[in-house]
Symmetry: C2
Amino acid sequence: VSPQIAALREYADELRALGGALSLLSWDERTQLPAAGGSWRARQMATLSGIYHKQLISTDLERLISAAEDAHPGSAEVRVMRRDYEHATKLPSRLVREFSEASSLSQQAWAQARRDDDFTTLQPHLERVLELSHERAECYGYETERYDALHDLYEQDSRAAELEPMFEGLREPLLELIDAQPPADLSILRRTYPLDAQTRFGEWIVTQVGYDMASGRLDPTAHPFCTSIGRGDVRLTTRYDEEWLPGSLFATIHEAGHGIYGQAFDRLELPSTYGEAPGLGMHESQSRMYENIVARSTPFWERYFPDLQAAFPGTLDDVDMETFLRQVRVSERSLIRVEADELTYNLHIAARFELERSLVNGTLAVKDLPEAWRDAYQRWVGLVPDNDRDGVLQDVHWSSGSFGYFPTYTLGNVYAAQFVERCRQDITNLDDQWRAGEFGPLRDWFDEHVYQHGRLYSGREFVQRITGGGVSSAALVTYLRERFAG
Amino acid sequence: VSPQIAALREYADELRALGGALSLLSWDERTQLPAAGGSWRARQMATLSGIYHKQLISTDLERLISAAEDAHPGSAEVRVMRRDYEHATKLPSRLVREFSEASSLSQQAWAQARRDDDFTTLQPHLERVLELSHERAECYGYETERYDALHDLYEQDSRAAELEPMFEGLREPLLELIDAQPPADLSILRRTYPLDAQTRFGEWIVTQVGYDMASGRLDPTAHPFCTSIGRGDVRLTTRYDEEWLPGSLFATIHEAGHGIYGQAFDRLELPSTYGEAPGLGMHESQSRMYENIVARSTPFWERYFPDLQAAFPGTLDDVDMETFLRQVRVSERSLIRVEADELTYNLHIAARFELERSLVNGTLAVKDLPEAWRDAYQRWVGLVPDNDRDGVLQDVHWSSGSFGYFPTYTLGNVYAAQFVERCRQDITNLDDQWRAGEFGPLRDWFDEHVYQHGRLYSGREFVQRITGGGVSSAALVTYLRERFAG
C-alpha cells in the first residue's frame, strides 16, 4: 500500500485500540465488575469516550484523509474514513453534552415509569430527548425526511421511504402464517436443563457453526451481547435459565453469528480503516441467519438433536426431533418484543418504525404516544396492551435517545433471507451440508460476498451486488412460508 | 476545596481513568484474554500508554499545577503532581522509544538465554539496556550516585547510601537464625489440596483480614498480582498448585495486603492527586505484613487452623497446629529468590542490590556479572550456583530495564517491622485481637498513620513520623529473632 494509505491505517489502528479499550471496559462492567465499582466505571468510560472523540475530530486525521484523497481519488477505503470524520465533526459539543445528559436522565425516568406503569413520569424527559434528537438530525442533514438522518446512524444508506413498503409487504403474509400455527406448546423447552450442561453445550455448538473459541470467549451476563475488543478477541456473552432452554441456546447462537462476522475481519486481515460491518442491520443479518435460518432448521437438528439429548441425560429421552423442532418454532401473536418469535418479531418492529418515524418527523407528539402505541399494535399485531408497561414503556431505546434503531432488527432478517436465497443458488446442497455438520462452505460464501469487503459497501449495496436487486421482504416471506406453512 | 485544587483533582481523575483502563487491559491479558488476542493487546496497550504519557506531559496540566501553586504555595498535594509532571518531561522521547525497544528485545533474549543456560546470548542486549539506563539516570539527575536516580523511580526518596547499612545490618543476624532452624520438612504442605477448596478458602480468608470483596475479585493467573482498576475496584489474582498449599495460600494473603492498601484510598475518599502509595516499598510493606507478620503468626493460626482443617476434610486431621506452623516457617539457605523463605529472602535481595548498584554506577561490567553473582552469593547466602540459570539468569528485572527495583522488596519487610513495632505500643493486645479474628483495629491504625495520607509522604517520611527515627533493619531483626529463635 501507499504511504498515505499506510498512515491512515495506522491512525485507524489507534482509534481501534482506543475503541477496543472502551469495549473491554464495557464487557468487564457487564461480566466481571465488583459491585462497588459501577459509578467510577461510568466516569472512566466517559473519559475514554471523550478522548476517542477528540482523536476522531483531530485535524491530524483530517490531514491524513486529505493526503490519501489526493493520492487515491475515489478510494472507497478513504471515503469511509472521510465519512466518519465529517460525521463526528457535525455536532456542536454543546449538543453532544446536552444530549448525553438528557438521555441519561431519561433512561432513569424510564426505569421508574416502567416500574410504576406511569408514562407521565417519563413524558417530559422523553420530550426533551426528542427535541434534542430533532436538533441532532438537523445537524447531520437529510434529503427527504428528518427520520433518515437518525436512522442512517445505525444503518448507513437506508431510508424510511424504502422501509415503509418493506414492512407493508410483511404484514399480511406474517399474520396469515402466525394464525395458521398450531396452539403453542413449550412444555419440553420448560423442563429442567442444568446450567453447567447448558454452558458446555453452548460452548460446543458455537464452535460447530464456525465461531473460533481461540479468538474469543463465552461468558454469562444479564443481557447477551457480542463485542470486539481487538484483533483475535471477539467475545460472546449469554444468559442462562435452568427452566427455559431457548433462553441460552438461541441467544448464544445468535451472538455467535455476530461473532463469526466480527472474527472474519481479522481472519481475512482487513485493515482497521474498513474492517467492520457497515451497520447494525448488516450485523444482525448474520446473527439472525445463524439463530433462525440455520439453528431452527430441520437439517440442523437432524444433525445435532442426538447431541442435545446426550448433553442433558434423561431429559429428552422421550422426545423425538420433530416434536422438539415444533416447540422451537412455536409462533403466536404477542405483546412483548423481546419474547417474540421469529414470525411475530417483525410486526413488533413495524409498529415501532411507524411510531418513531412520526415522532422524529414531527407528526406525533410524545403526549399522544401511548394511545398511538395501542392503535399501532391493533393494526400490526391485532392485540392491544392493557397497560403501558406492556406497551409503550417496554423498551428503553427511545428513552436512551436511540430513534431510528428499531428497523435494523427487521433489516437483518430481510438481508439474511435475501443473501441465503442467493447462496442456495451457488451452493445447491446447503441443507445436506448442515445435516452433516458442515458450515465451512456457508462461511466461505460470506467471506467472498460480504465479510472481505468490511464496510466498503452499505447493506443496500451488498444486496444490490449479491442479488442484482433492491432491499425487499419477498425473500423473507418466501423463506418463512416454506418453514411455517410447509 | 479551592477551584484550583478542584481543577487539578479533575485532571488527576482523568489520568486515573486512563491509567485504570491500562490496568484493566493488563489484568484481562493475564486472566481472560483469548489465545489469539495477545499481539494486538500489546499494541493496544502501547497506544494507550502513549496517550497517557501525552496527558501527563500536557501543558494543560502544567498550567493547572502552576495555578494551584500560586493559590496554595507549599501544598503537598500540588507538590506531588508537580513532581509527576517534571518527572515525565525529563526524558527525551527518543530515549523513551529506544529504551522501550531495547528492553523488549532484551527480555526476549533473557528467556532464550535462560532456557539455554547461556549468558552470552543475553550479554549484548543487557549491555545496551544498561547503557540506556545510564542515560536515563543522567536525565533524571541525582545528588551523590547515579544508582539513586533509578532507585527513586520505585521508592521515592530512598538512597543507596542508606540501603547499604540496612542490608549490612541484616546479614549476620539472618544467617545465624537460618542456620539455627531445624531441618526442612514440608511434607504436610505437599499433601493434596483440591483446587476448588483452595479457591474457596482463599476467598474467605482475605475477607477475614480486611479485604473487601464487594470492591474486588480474586482470579487465577500464572503470576499473582494486585491491580487497581478504579474506585471500588481493586483486584487480586493468585495461582493454585494442588500439591503445594502455600503457593496459593500465602500468595493470596500477600496480594490481599496490597489490596487492603489499594482499597483504603477509596474507602477514605482520597482524591486521585495523591490517593495512592508513594512507592513499591511502601506497598510491599502491607503485603508482607499480612503475608508474614500476620498470616505466619501463632495467634493467626490459633484462630484459623480449625477452619483450614475443615476446608480440606480428611487432609489435616492428623496434624496439630504447632506442626503445621513449623512447616509454614521452614527456613534454609537457598539459591532461588522466588522460592525463598521469610528469612532468606532479604539475603537474595542484598546480593542483587550490591550488584545492580555497581552496574548502574559503572564499577561492574555486564561481561563480569556472572562471576560477580557467584561472589555475591558466596558472601551473602554462603551458597554458589552450579549454573547461570540458577544464578544471574533467574530474574527478568534487569533484562527488562528495572535497575533499582529489587531493594523495595526488603524495604517492605523493614517498613512493616518498624510500623508494627510502633503499632504494638499503641494497641497492646494485638495478638489477642488476631487470635479472635479481629483485624479491624490493625487496619484502623494504618488508616490513621499511613493510608489516609496517600503519597503525601515518602516511605522514609512515614517511618520518621511513625517511629521518630530513620529507616533501619533493627525492628525487622527483633521481630525475626522473636519468631525464629523464640
